[in-house]
């Protein structure tokens, strides 16, 4: 059989992050998984977390809920097809799990100006007292839908549909430019 090279190509352009100490940085998250968990009408996050801890303790329980009874389960580990199939088989009946690792890409925007940059796109009030660390929400950044999660003081993870990823990347670079070239 012919040896076909297989490569998981990345949808973001190469990273042109600013130097250390810059007030704004944008970095893609290359590794890991995004699983879309869909629960039935009676499902809840506590049950889901318990189940995930049991089934896949190695993957963590980092959950972001875009909608009632739905979660994006994300993590930094790479999960094989067979491992995914095992998890899908073991997850309690009230949940189903769809792989979105390729469909939804993650990046991190961080630095002192991160809120000012995001305010150019989203109406959501991201001020520290209104949007706590760990909180996440689906919103629109300009014309593009994205999920914003606050991961640290001045650090926000963005999850975006793959097809929009390069456009959002470019737009964020434009929005951040004034802080890189003051």
């Amino acid at each position: 059989m012919h040896e076909y090279p297989l490569e998981n190509r990345f949808a973001f352009p190469s990273n042109d992050a600013a130097g250390a100490g810059a007030s704004i940085n944008l970095a893609p998250i290359r590794d890991g998984f995004v699983f879309h968990v869909l629960g039935d009408a009676n499902s809840n996050e506590v049950d889901l977390k318990q189940a995930l801890v049991k089934i896949a303790p190695e993957l963590g329980t980092d959950l972001r809920s875009p909608s009632p009874n739905q979660w994006f389960w994300v993590g930094g580990a790479d999960v094989s097809d067979s491992r995914l199939a095992e998890i899908q088989a073991e997850i309690p009946e009230q949940f189903v799990l769809a792989d979105q690792t390729h469909g939804r890409l993650r990046m991190v925007l961080f630095g002192a100006s991160s809120r000012s940059v995001l305010a150019k796109g989203t109406m959501v009030d991201l001020s520290p007292e209104m949007f706590a660390i760990g909180q996440s929400t689906m919103t629109q950044i300009g014309h593009i839908g994205a999920m914003i999660t606050r991961t640290a003081d001045d650090s926000f993870e963005l999850i975006v549909l793959r097809s929009f990823a390069s456009t959002l990347w470019d737009e964020l670079q434009h929005m951040a430019a004034e802080f890189r070239h003051p």
């Binding site: 059989m1 012919h2 076909y4 090279p5 297989l6 490569e7 998981n8 190509r9 990345f10 949808a11 879309h36 869909l38 629960g39 039935d40 009408a41 009874n69 739905q70 097809d81 189903v96 769809a98 792989d99 979105q100 690792t101 390729h102 469909g103 939804r104 305010a119 150019k120 989203t122 109406m123 009030d125 001020s127 209104m130 300009g142 014309h143 593009i144 549909l161 793959r162 097809s163 929009f164 390069s166 456009t167 959002l168 737009e171 434009h174 929005m175 430019a177 004034e178 890189r180 070239h181 003051p182």
Partner: protein, 991 residues
């Protein structure tokens, strides 16, 4: 410096000399100047010409209300027409030009219109220019259009960068004068999130124009202390150069910040916005917008050198500019006397104060001669004022030589933002002005906009208002106070309304920019246009770029006087956004040019690029439309080759943009059965089915295939165009119509790279990379399941479906692997002559096969119209669209229905969008038989083929018709036929 620049000036920095040109003349000003203050400092009183009569005009105000001094500033893509000189900050190298005058502002031919004044009264154009009929467009209108308009807009693209932002606050303070600053200070000290916005270059408002000490300290020192404290508060944001231009529902305010408009080109940071649109979400608002001083309507009141009394103070105290050397004042209120005090303090002669009140109650102790009970009835001077004529109370006239006249007719609260959401302002006889509406939810008008006067009273009011607003938010605050200022009992300024000077000689203007005189308003009334809105529309009063800021209340006063009623009974016209004009650039932000809409890229975009694809915009997507090879110069060359390749060998096409939806849940089958008009309940695992979705009104919405991948798991594909729409529709069905069903929908469009591999050799190609058995027996037409690929290295989903009509598959793999898999297919297919094909070839093949797309599914067709009437289940008792699909008009046998169409002579061409007529019929809409929905050249058959919706079409196969294209001037004889031009028996499909 010129002789009009005097000492002082809170806003200017004399060490910073700035050069600029005005109509080509080199002049200089200083940092902090507006163009208006710099022009005045240079002795330039005549700066523009009016709209209709081209009368010479000067600078009337020192702010946003300026109706006269409109200049074109900058050049090429940075040219700003109609810029108010009173708001434009002077920068080094600024170029300003007068508008609406030819050959120049001092000598303007258009001024001849003034001689025709009586002919050009209000509404004259409605009464003439009607004969002969054709002359309006050909003669009159071009002349009028050429004469009308003010500045000339550039056709060059603007090199500036713009952006938009959201902002949130507990308290938005609009206006940073004494009132607003007190409110911001109060709320800031209480810990609330505060945004205070002001249109000026610096915050301060009334402080900046104040010539007298405040609480024993100079006004600018007091101001500096306040600003210093506000800057130190981390919860307070001061936005200068920021105009809050509109109030929208739910406490959303539009504001525009002129971030870099005050900078010369070489200092503009290209990464920073020129202007920035703010969308401010405020929990509470303090409206501290102040009041606009009103002109008085008297003969010759538009002559350069006539200026608002308050503006004179601003030029004196903020810019160190003298409005003249011998000044008179014409005022009906006591506040205006402060101008005389300040002028005299700077050693400028005040020749006279003309006050229509017979016993003005004032405590003015200056040197100027006070003429009580008198009016100014006329002015003289060719290009600027030389003298005024005063009519005394005994009826005698006196001419007084002056080179400037300050006017004050009272104060109009700037209530715009309080009225944008529908509130009507309320007339106050005490204030002689329209006050903010009584009900302004979440907004507290205070200070001058609420009728207060003077720094002390306004500052106190601002603090009180902020305390009240904070209380609404459950925050305690204490009103800020000015050190050393004692609250005195409020004194009421008795203003005597003067809507027009009855003894006026010559034209007395109400709306300066639109040249509306008092006589025009009276004429409108006489002709029946007596409602304030009709008067506005008939005379154009208040419709100029200043939106009547200085003219509307006077017009209302004149209407009221004529009708002998209170101005309150006349009412105002509607206050509408925007408070001051906002440029497109700011409202558009970065969404321009290529960034107008986001680009969506398929996971195979890079692969297609490497194969030289030409892309086409499809919604937000770019899709590969054809793949030219060397030597192919015309798109058809490539498309024909691609079609032939697929029909005889094998091709690969990117179909990743199709909508893909994972449908889960124990009721998923029941759900699908209800949203499709055909049956889905018994679709077995491992099978795909073509489905038609109707709207509830019975017409076809979308089509696609849905595959059963497992118990309670389906995979739906939709058309590219309706991917978002179908998901939204399904969510409506699942959440609203049938929330009791367990169905869960996940959009999976972006997860999968999907490619069609089509052609007689497609199975052989795929067999090389797919581990499973995909023989016809093991994987027949409409099979659909997960497969192992590349020796177990990758899993994909394989569907045996065909849009082209050939033996074909669609293979879906995780998007990141899309390019690798497409490359692998190309390698595997090399020995069979594989080629990539694009949407054009796909389109040709589907027409040849008689498959429909949204060219046919245009929202007005039923399944029966498309020849798929039998798919509509008669057994299911409920599905979306079932009942409305049965309406008389939807089952009418004469409805246009799908047919194939081809030219009688194979060499004849025809176009999509051509209509179908019966041979011999007259060309008329009544004889219209239908139209061509799609057509292409069929490389398979060697002639054009098309699809059409034709009345009774399916019964007319073989009939000759006329394919009529009146737009192109062509008619072709066509033959109606079966829409399946290729393989009508579906043998290839099942091979």
């Amino acid at each position: 410096m010129t002789s009009f620049r005097i000492e002082g000036g809170t806003l200017i920095d004399r060490s910073d000399v700035r050069r600029f040109t005005f109509n080509g003349e080199a002049l200089s000003g200083i940092g902090g100047d507006t163009v208006a203050s710099a022009l005045l400092a240079n002795g330039k009183q005549l700066v523009g010409r009016s709209f209709k009569y081209h009368r010479p005009r000067g600078i009337l105000t020192a702010g946003a209300a300026e109706p006269n001094a409109l200049l074109t500033i900058g050049r090429d893509g940075r040219r700003d027409p109609n810029t108010r000189a009173t708001m434009a900050e002077l920068y080094d190298g600024l170029e300003a030009r007068s508008q609406n005058c030819w050959p120049n502002v001092s000598f303007d031919i258009g001024a001849a219109n003034g001689l025709l004044g009586p002919l050009l009264g209000a509404g004259f154009y409605y009464k003439t220019f009607m004969w002969p009929a054709a002359f309006w467009e050909k003669v009159y209108e071009p002349l009028i259009r050429k004469a009308a308009g003010l500045g000339r807009a550039s056709y060059d693209p603007d090199p500036g960068y713009y952006e938009k932002c959201w902002a949130h606050c507990d308290l938005l303070v609009i206006g940073a004068g004494p009132t607003g600053l007190a409110a911001a200070l109060t709320a800031g000290r209480a810990g609330a999130r505060v945004i205070i916005a002001d249109e000026g270059a610096q915050p301060g408002g009334g402080f900046l124009a104040e010539g007298s000490p405040v609480g024993g300290k100079p006004a600018d020192t007091v101001l500096a202390d306040i600003i210093g404290e506000l800057h130190a508060l981390p919860n307070v944001e001061i936005r200068k150069r920021t105009t809050v231009f509109a109030a929208y529902d739910d406490q959303v305010f539009g504001a525009v910040e002129r971030v870099q408009k005050h900078l010369p080109e070489n200092e503009i940071n290209p990464h920073r916005a020129m202007e920035r649109l703010w969308r401010i979400v405020a929990r509470q608002v303090v409206l501290a917008t102040g009041a606009e001083e009103r002109p008085i309507v008297f003969g010759g009141n538009d002559r350069p050198g006539v200026m608002m009394a308050g503006a004179m103070r601003t030029y004196l105290n903020a810019y160190g500019v003298a409005p003249g050397k011998r000044v008179a004042l014409f005022a009906n209120n006591s506040q205006a006397y402060q101008t005389a005090v300040d002028l005299e303090a700077r050693g400028i002669e005040v020749a006279a104060i003309i006050d229509p009140r017979t016993c003005p109650n004032i405590n003015y102790a200056g040197k100027a001669r006070l003429i009580a009970g008198a009016m100014v009835r006329d002015t003289a001077g060719r290009r600027a004022i030389k003298s005024i004529t005063v009519r005394h109370d005994d009826g005698s006239d006196e001419v007084i030589a002056v080179d400037a006249l300050g006017v004050s007719g009272g104060y109009s609260p700037i209530v715009h933002l309080a009225c944008h959401r529908g509130g009507k302002p309320v007339w106050s006889d005490a204030h002689i002005g329209f006050m903010p509406p009584e009900k302004t939810d979440g907004m507290t008008p205070c200070g001058a906009v609420a009728g207060k006067a003077g720094i002390a009273a306004c500052f106190a009011a601002g603090g009180v208002a902020a305390v009240k607003a904070l209380a609404e938010l459950g925050v305690m605050g204490e009103a800020a106070s000015l050190p050393g200022v004692e609250q005195t009992a409020e004194t009421v300024d008795h203003i005597q309304p003067v809507w027009r000077v009855a003894s006026s000689k010559g034209k007395a203007f109400v709306d300066f920019q639109n040249d509306v005189a008092a006589s025009d308003i009276t004429l409108a009334m006489r002709e029946g246009y007596d409602h304030v809105e009709l008067a506005k529309r008939y005379t154009t009063n208040g419709m100029a770029t200043d939106q009547g800021k200085t003219s509307n209340v006077n017009a209302i006063g004149i209407l009221a006087e004529n009708k002998r009623v209170s101005p309150g009974e006349i009412g105002t016209t509607t206050f509408r956004p925007f408070y001051t004009p906002v440029c497109f650039g700011a409202l558009v932000g970065a969404s321009k040019g290529m960034d107008f809409q986001p680009v969506r890229k398929s996971p195979l975009h890079g692969w297609a690029e490497r194969h030289g694809a030409k892309f086409v915009e499809t919604g937000l997507w770019y899709r590969s439309s054809w793949f030219p090879k060397d030597g192919e110069t015309f798109w058809r060359d490539s498309v024909d080759r691609e079609v032939n390749t697929v029909r005889t060998k094998v091709g690969i096409c990117d179909v990743s943009t199709l909508g893909k939806i994972e449908v889960f849940g124990t009721d998923a089958a029941e759900f699908l059965n209800r949203v499709y008009c055909n049956a889905f309940l018994k679709l077995p695992v491992g099978k795909a089915r073509y489905g038609i979705m109707l709207r509830e009104d019975g017409f076809v919405y979308d089509d696609g295939t849905t595959s059963c991948l497992g118990e309670n798991h389906y995979f739906m594909t939709t058309t590219t165009a309706l991917a978002a729409g179908v998901l939204t529709h399904l969510e409506f069905c699942a959440q609203v119509l049938w929330p009791e069903l367990d169905v869960r929908l996940a959009s999976a469009t972006d997860q999968w790279a999907q490619m069609a591999v089509a052609g007689p050799r497609s199975r052989e190609v795929l067999s090389k990379i797919i581990d499973d058995d995909i023989s016809n027996e093991a994987f027949p037409f409409l099979a659909a399941r997960e497969v192992s690929m590349f020796g177990g290295r990758l899993k994909g989903r394989l569907f045996r479906i065909s849009f082209s009509g050939e033996l074909a598959y669609e293979i879906a793999v995780p998007a990141g692997y899309g390019e690798s898999v497409a490359d692998a297919v190309m390698i595997a297919g090399e020995e069979f002559g594989i080629a990539p094909y694009g949407t054009e070839a796909l389109g040709v093949m589907r027409i040849e096969k008689g498959h429909v797309t949204h060219a046919e599914i245009n929202g007005t067709v039923t399944p029966a119209d498309l020849g798929m009437g039998r798919m509509v289940s008669a057994k299911k008792d409920d599905f979306i669209g079932r009942v409305m699909n049965l309406r008389e008009g939807l089952v009418d046998p004469s409805r246009p229905s799908l047919v194939g169409i081809k030219p009688k002579s194979p060499s004849d061409k025809f176009a999509t969008g051509s209509h179908i007529l019966n041979p011999g019929d007259d060309v008329s809409l009544a004889n219209d038989q239908g139209y061509v929905t799609s057509m292409c050249h069929s490389p398979t058959l060697g002639h054009p083929v098309g699809l059409a919706l034709v009345k009774n079409g399916p019964k007319r196969h073989g009939e000759e018709v006329v394919i009529w294209n009146g737009l192109a001037g062509t008619t072709v004889t066509g033959i109606l036929c079966d829409p399946a031009f290729v393989d009508p028996e579906n043998e290839k499909l099942h091979a």
